[in-house]
């Protein structure tokens, strides 16, 4: 079966954030134009059927001009299945009402906004250039054109911040009637401005206190904690595209530095713009054998509220999960780290923060 999900990467950014280590390049009109042409070429080189989800990520997709956006979106419309989810990532300062109207015109029905925080001092430290007013405008325009499924990305854990800062951010977000929230703890990655200038994140104990607070606070406000860092008001508003990844399903990945998973093969695109412009897209391919597939299946599915479905697992890997991992399950259960019922096993909400140690318990047997 062909993948039903499509990811497109737009690497351009107007500013580089101090914590970001994704594939990105400074926006340049000539390059952007050329890039989109090559991107569409790459897209058409795959025989893609209609998709249930399309996600345009970055970089900053909204840094493209109106015309460029229209060029891109006009090529995507035909891939939309009925009952689709079509998302785009945006930065508040790069948008105007016209671009948002364009989203609506071409069927985008979910917008993920890089808010990060409502504390403008912290925003500056993060290397972000928008203001709270920009966020307000974007939300107003979205509501005006009728895109009500929007999500905020928030970041927490910069040195010098506290639980109170996070509470303020959550209160502000809730006041905008968001249906979905992603909350990421700051990680200082090598090759970022933060790393070089020795900026630090809070320690693990402090981060955990904040994480526990977030879960409880959002629970009180009716949100479902459906993935390690993701919350939604109901199942309707879970990110269906991202669930593709977390449920180990296949997807197309198009664009600079993108990766995809097609027909049992994971592949990685080049991160060099020059190579990409020479139509050299894929730089690495790996056939995922059954053992690796099981590794990935466990690692990914445990991130979600759905956890591991025994029937599906047993069928895929031809063994009985509950029998095979009997000891591990007993130990983890004793420590209240997992919940198990007749059909599935999942990690309890707060303990998703030590997910890697739990995953390791299982995969050490592989």
């Amino acid at each position: 079966m062909k993948p039903k999900s499509l990811y497109l990467h737009i690497p351009f950014c107007v500013h580089l954030c101090h914590y970001c280590d994704f594939t990105k390049v400074f926006y340049n009109e000539k390059w952007a134009k050329k890039y989109l042409e090559v991107l569409i070429y790459e897209l058409q080189s795959y025989k893609i059927d209609k998709c249930k989800t399309i996600f345009i990520g970055g970089g900053t997709p909204s840094s493209l001009t109106y015309d460029q956006l229209e060029y891109l979106l006009s090529h995507l419309n035909k891939y939309l299945d009925k009952d689709y989810e079509f998302s785009i990532e945006v930065n508040p300062e790069t948008l105007d009402f016209d671009k948002i109207s364009l989203f609506k015109k071409y069927g985008i029905n979910r917008v993920s906004i890089g808010v990060q925080t409502f504390n403008e001092t912290v925003l500056k430290k993060l290397g972000r250039y928008h203001t709270n007013k920009d966020v307000k405008n974007v939300v107003n325009w979205l509501n005006k054109v009728g895109i009500t499924n929007y999500s905020f990305d928030l970041i927490y854990g910069l040195e010098g911040t506290s639980k109170d800062d996070v509470k303020h951010d959550l209160d502000m977000a809730l006041s905008y009637n968001v249906k979905h929230l992603s909350l990421y703890s700051l990680i200082i990655e090598p090759n970022t401005k933060f790393f070089i200038s020795k900026v630090e994140a809070l320690n693990d104990d402090e981060l955990r206190t904040i994480y526990d607070f977030i879960i409880n606070y959002l629970y009180d406000h009716g949100f479902i904690h459906y993935e390690v860092s993701n919350f939604a008001i109901d199942e309707e508003h879970f990110s269906k595209h991202n669930l593709t990844y977390w449920q180990n399903k296949e997807y197309y990945g198009i664009g600079l530095g993108a990766s995809g998973y097609i027909n049992g093969i994971r592949y990685q695109n080049t991160k060099s713009l020059n190579e990409y412009f020479n139509y050299n897209f894929v730089v690495h391919k790996e056939t995922i054998d059954l053992k690796n597939k099981e590794f990935e299946y466990i690692m990914l599915n445990l991130r979600t509220i759905y956890g591991i479905n025994f029937e599906q697992y047993n069928l895929l890997f031809n063994k009985n999960f509950k029998d095979y991992y009997k000891e591990e399950i007993n130990q983890l259960k004793k420590l209240n780290l997992i919940e198990i019922n007749e059909n599935s096993l999942k990690v309890t909400s707060h303990n998703l923060y030590i997910l890697d140690s739990i995953i390791t318990e299982f995969i050490k047997k592989l």
Partner: protein
């Protein structure tokens, strides 16, 4: 055909670690064109990688070198290598016994150190003619005249003829060779007497059995001879004999005064004890050569496979090592915490280190070693005497009347500036002050009697840090003495871990218990639950810490492209877990079992 003894010179090189022994040996081989330059690997005599890396010589080797001297005669040199560490002092003494002389190599900037002295005394004990050689004279910090003066004052050796060389640069090496001809006596054994050959080394060859290195002291040895080891009382027939140049050269016989090897289809290295005398079984000598001693292990530790399924592989590996290492002893033991493994005995700490590293490196085994222990004599109230080298096997305190532990005499050589801190160190290590002597105006020898267990426990590093690296030391067993000793248990998550038990002095128990629990807290990673670590004596807890439960261990962002990265991270975590030992439900890394050794005592 045998060589005329007049033209044979048998000698060793004595030097402190890093003073250039192996480099000089290389230069000698080069100059005599025994080994062609293109074949030279640096430091030819050290054949094991481990030796090369650590700059120490573990296995002995003997090489025949031909040299045409200035007097026009062709001489045959036998250069006998000696190990350079105190653990192997008996082996050193036997290889010295195979010589008539020794080159004493002293670093022109460092001067004489404790171990050099120890080996010099061994050489003097064996009546060797000692030729001092001052090395590294090319260094800016070289003080050859000062060093010569020291040698005369401290050892009492004349240095008029001492060659001043740089082995590294090949400077004045010929002078060394001439000094060997002139000052080292030729062998003088009676070639018609019954055979007496000294065994000074051996190693195991999978195809030919044990290869025995010998020095023919009297008589001669021929292929086909029936030989007898006089101490182990075993007999064999010589199948092959010869010399090393360093390539193996087979000969029909080894004459009086010669140094070489023999094979006799010997399957068990225990039959070939260093220091034993080989004689002719048909025409035996009346008595063996003097100086034979059976080597006894001084230090013991448990060695376990991390993965219990590897027990068989570990046994095979230790057995193979033992083929080459007559001093290594082992027997199976079981630990509740670690499963099946072996209790192994070693000559000393370096010997223990070398064996551990070879198991890991050459046999690719993941092993856990427990903290080393000495051999205790435990007397019970009912008069029974127990000899115990495993702390976890100690009887309950109620049954014990008294415990004796081994003491050693420690000689520390140090610049006088550091005597204060070093005495304090020795005092903290339960040392009993014996003597303090000046060697010259700046250096002193400090002598203490001290429990061997205290030397095992972090002594070397602290000696070095108390003296900015300048002090060196040497030790010798002096006997057993009663001490107030108690067994300290360590509990993880409420369970006693037998492999972490140790014997400590009662007055130091609280301190050690505290240090140990704090150290374990730093090496045991956070687990999914809080883990209490306790130290206890006779069931009474004397120290406690906790390893807090892990609070965050997740990659918070995981989307399409991130999967491979996350996978790598988890693979690494999985690998780390594989290396840990699950004790109950607590995962303990290998280092934890050595934690006792590395606690920083303040």
């Amino acid at each position: 055909m045998s060589i005329n003894q007049k033209f044979i010179r048998n000698f060793s090189i004595i030097a402190h670690i890093d003073h250039g022994k192996s480099t000089l040996a290389d230069r000698i081989l080069e100059l005599t064109e025994t080994v062609e330059k293109r074949e030279m690997k640096e430091q030819f005599l050290d054949t094991m990688d481990l030796e090369r890396e650590r700059g120490i010589t573990i296995k002995l080797n003997a090489i025949q070198v031909r040299y045409r001297a200035e007097d026009g005669n062709d001489y045959t040199f036998h250069l006998i290598d000696t190990p350079g560490h105190v653990d192997f002092s008996y082996e050193v003494s036997r290889s010295l016994a195979a010589c008539e002389g020794a080159l004493l190599v002293v670093d022109a900037s460092q001067g004489i150190e404790a171990q050099t002295l120890a080996n010099v005394y061994l050489a003097l004990d064996n009546n060797l003619e000692i030729v001092p050689v001052i090395n590294k004279i090319d260094l800016p910090s070289a003080m050859p005249n000062k060093i010569k003066e020291d040698i005369e004052n401290i050892i009492g050796l004349p240095t008029d003829h001492a060659p001043l060389i740089s082995a590294k640069r090949g400077l004045n090496i010929k002078e060394v060779l001439e000094a060997v001809v002139k000052y080292i006596p030729a062998p003088t054994g009676d070639e018609n007497a019954p055979l007496k050959a000294l065994i000074f080394d051996s190693y195991y060859d999978a195809y030919r059995g044990v290869i025995v290195f010998i020095r023919v002291i009297e008589g001669k040895l021929s292929v086909g001879d029936k030989i007898r080891m006089m101490n182990t009382k075993t007999e064999y027939e010589v199948l092959e004999c010869g010399v090393r140049t360093p390539r193996e050269v087979k000969k029909d016989e080894l004459g009086c005064g010669e140094v070489g090897w023999l094979t006799a289809s010997i399957k068990n290295i225990k039959d070939v004890q260093v220091g034993d005398t080989i004689t002719n079984a048909q025409r035996p000598a009346s008595e063996p050569l003097k100086g034979y001693r059976k080597m006894n292990p001084m230090v013991y530790c448990g060695i376990y496979p991390v993965d219990n399924d590897k027990y068989g592989e570990l046994r095979d590996a230790i057995e193979k090592l033992q083929l080459n290492d007559a001093a290594l002893v082992f027997e199976p033991e079981t630990s509740q915490a670690l499963g099946f493994g072996f209790r192994c005995g070693f000559l000393g700490l370096l010997h223990m280190d070398v064996v551990q590293e070879r198991l890991e490196r050459e046999y690719n085994l993941d092993i856990i070693t427990t903290a080393p222990s000495v051999i205790y004599h435990v007397y019970l109230h009912d008069g029974t005497k127990l000899i115990l080298e495993n702390p976890s096997k100690f009887p309950s305190p109620q049954e014990i009347d008294r415990i004796e532990e081994p003491f050693v005499t420690v000689e520390i050589m140090t610049p006088s500036d550091y005597v204060g801190p070093l005495m304090e160190l020795c005092q903290n290590k339960r040392g009993i002050y014996k003597e303090l002597n000046y060697i010259d105006e700046t250096r002193m020898i400090l002598i203490y009697e001290m429990p061997l267990s205290e030397i095992i426990y972090d002594f070397f590093d602290r000696l070095k840090s108390s003296s900015k690296g300048y002090a060196s030391f040497d030790y010798e067993l002096s006997g057993y003495k009663e001490s107030k000793l108690v067994k300290m248990d360590i509990l993880l998550n409420g369970e006693v871990v037998d492999a972490l038990a140790s014997i400590v002095h009662r007055d130091q128990a609280y301190h050690r218990g505290h240090k140990m629990t704090v150290k374990l807290k730093t090496v045991i990673p956070r687990q999914q639950f809080e883990v209490p670590i306790q130290a206890a004596i006779s069931g009474k807890v004397i120290a406690r810490t906790n390893v807090k439960a892990v609070r965050k261990d997740v990659l918070s962002k995981c989307y399409g492209g991130d999967i491979s990265r996350k996978k790598k991270l988890l693979e690494k975590q999985k690998e780390g877990k594989r290396r840990m030992k699950a004790i109950g439900s607590v995962e303990v890394p290998q280092e934890a079992f050595m934690a006792l050794l590395s606690t920083d005592d303040e």
